[in-house]
Each structure stands twice: as C-alpha cells, then as structure tokens.
C-alpha cells in the first residue's frame, strides 16, 4: 500500500510539474510578437496587423490519505480492512484564449497610417444588450405608472 501511494505521489508530482510548464508557456503571449503579425507586402504597401490577445489558464489538485483509527494497516489485513486505510485525490484544469484584430498598419509611398478594424458583430450585440435593458426599464416604468 505504501509503495502504491509513493508511486501515485510521483505521478501526481509529475502531472503538476507538466501543468506548471504549460502555464509558463501561456505567458509567451505577453511577448510583443504575439499581437503584431508578420509584415505582408501588397504591391507598394506593407501591411502589419495588430490584434488584442487574451489567455487564461488555471489548474488545481487536492487530496487526502490516511489510516482509519481502528486499523493497523498490515499485509495480514483482509481486503475490507485495507480499504479502510483511506484515500482520495483529484485534479483538474481549464483555460481559454481569444484574439481579435484591432487595426491594420499600412505603410506605403504616401506614408504610414493606422486603419482601425471595427467588429460589427460585437457592436450589434452591445446595441442589442443596451436596447434590451432600456426596454425592460421602460416596461417597468409603464407598469409602475399604471399601478
């Protein structure tokens, strides 16, 4: 039992170490190259895209082992006694990432300019959310004036 637990502990430690390495790779998004794309030549113009990037990640583990108070924990114990020695462990993790183009930097013979990229879908959703809130509030006011 103690050998099995030691092996289990080693595997858990290796897993946690791998998770830590994965989290460290997440911070490579903070490098400048992550938001600016490679320059693309289009005729006389050079275009560089600029994006906003967000990444989040987390993991956790927990556990507990122990001997039941009445058990001695020897090899002579039957299966029922060995099962009373305790147990339990768990681990989990998750993450998310997103990127959105913000602007395009265009360099040409006439100079360098920054062209913003507008996400119409996001604006539409924001407008709908605002309109929905306004409609609910007006409805409530109408009910209040009737009552």
């Amino acid at each position: 039992m103690s050998k099995d637990f030691a092996g289990f502990e080693v595997r858990m430690a290796e897993g946690q170490e791998q998770a830590r390495e994965l989290v460290e790779k997440l911070f490579s998004v903070a490098e400048p190259g992550a938001v600016f794309g490679e320059p693309v030549q289009v005729g006389e113009h050079t275009v560089i895209t600029a994006s906003e990037v967000t990444v989040g990640m987390g993991f956790g583990s927990g556990g507990g082992f122990g001997d039941a108070p009445a058990s001695q924990g020897d090899e002579e114990d039957g299966p029922a006694d060995q099962a009373a020695h305790g147990g339990g462990y768990g681990s989990g993790g998750g993450g998310g990432a997103g990127g959105r183009p913000v602007a395009a930097i265009i360099a040409g013979p006439d100079g360098v300019r920054v062209e913003p990229i507008v996400d119409v879908t996001k604006l539409g959703l924001a407008a709908l959310t605002a309109l929905g809130g306004m409609f609910l509030a007006l409805n409530r006011m109408r009910k209040a004036s009737r009552g």
């Binding site: 998770a19 989290v23 997440l26 911070f27 998004v29 903070a30 490098e31 400048p32 190259g33 992550a34 938001v35 600016f36 320059p39 006389e44 050079t46 560089i48 600029a50 994006s51 906003e52 990037v53 967000t54 990444v55 989040g56 990640m57 987390g58 993991f59 956790g60 993790g93 993450g95 959105r100 913000v102 602007a103 930097i105 360099a107 040409g108 013979p109 100079g111 360098v112 300019r113 920054v114 913003p116 990229i117 507008v118 996400d119 996001k122 604006l123 924001a126 407008a127 959310t129 605002a130 309109l131 809130g133 306004m134 609910l136 509030a137 007006l138 409530r140 006011m141 209040a144 004036s145």
Partner: protein
C-alpha cells in the same frame, strides 16, 4: 509567497522594428500579466507604432474603435436604464 507586484504586472513592450520602404516602424504594446500559484492570465493589446522616416519620428496611436464604441453603447444603455428606474421609484414614492 509572491508579492503583489510579482503577481500582477502591467508592462509596455517594444517590438522588433520593421522596415517598410524608407520608413522604420516600431510597434508598441501593453501587456497585463496576472500570475497565481496555479495559473495565470494575460491580456495583451497593441497601443501604437513609432514611425521613423527622414530623421523624423512620429507616434501613431492605435485606437480600439470596437471597444470604445462597445463601452459607449453599454454605458448609454446602463445610464438610461438607471435613470428610468430612478424615475419609476420616484413616481411610486410620490404616488404613496
């Protein structure tokens, strides 16, 4: 135990200069990095470019028009909703 400044960092980064014709473009970005013992979060956005041409230097800001418009729409909706709710509460109070 890491300190707050080690856990939360807000830094400005300068990227590799890019040559476009006779202009040298240096990108600039800002990154918010949050580290906790079992994970982390990074928010990285472009903020501007510095253009060097003919001995002159010019900084062009990058404005996130989508984010600004989104915030304006949501703020307008929230303000309107709040005003209507306040008016309805006042009406209720005066009716009593």
């Amino acid at each position: 135990m890491p300190t707050l400044s080690e856990m939360i960092q807000f830094e400005t980064h300068w990227g590799e200069p890019v040559m476009a014709g006779d202009a040298e473009i240096v990108p600039q970005s800002q990154a918010l990095t949050v580290r906790w013992p079992w994970g982390g979060y990074v928010w990285h956005r472009p903020v501007g470019v510095v253009v060097r041409r003919g001995g002159e230097e010019q900084r062009l800001p990058i404005v996130d028009v989508t984010r600004v418009a989104q915030a304006a729409l949501l703020a307008f909706g929230a303000m309107f909703t709040l005003m209507v709710l306040i008016l309805s509460f006042q009406k209720k109070a005066s009716a009593r």
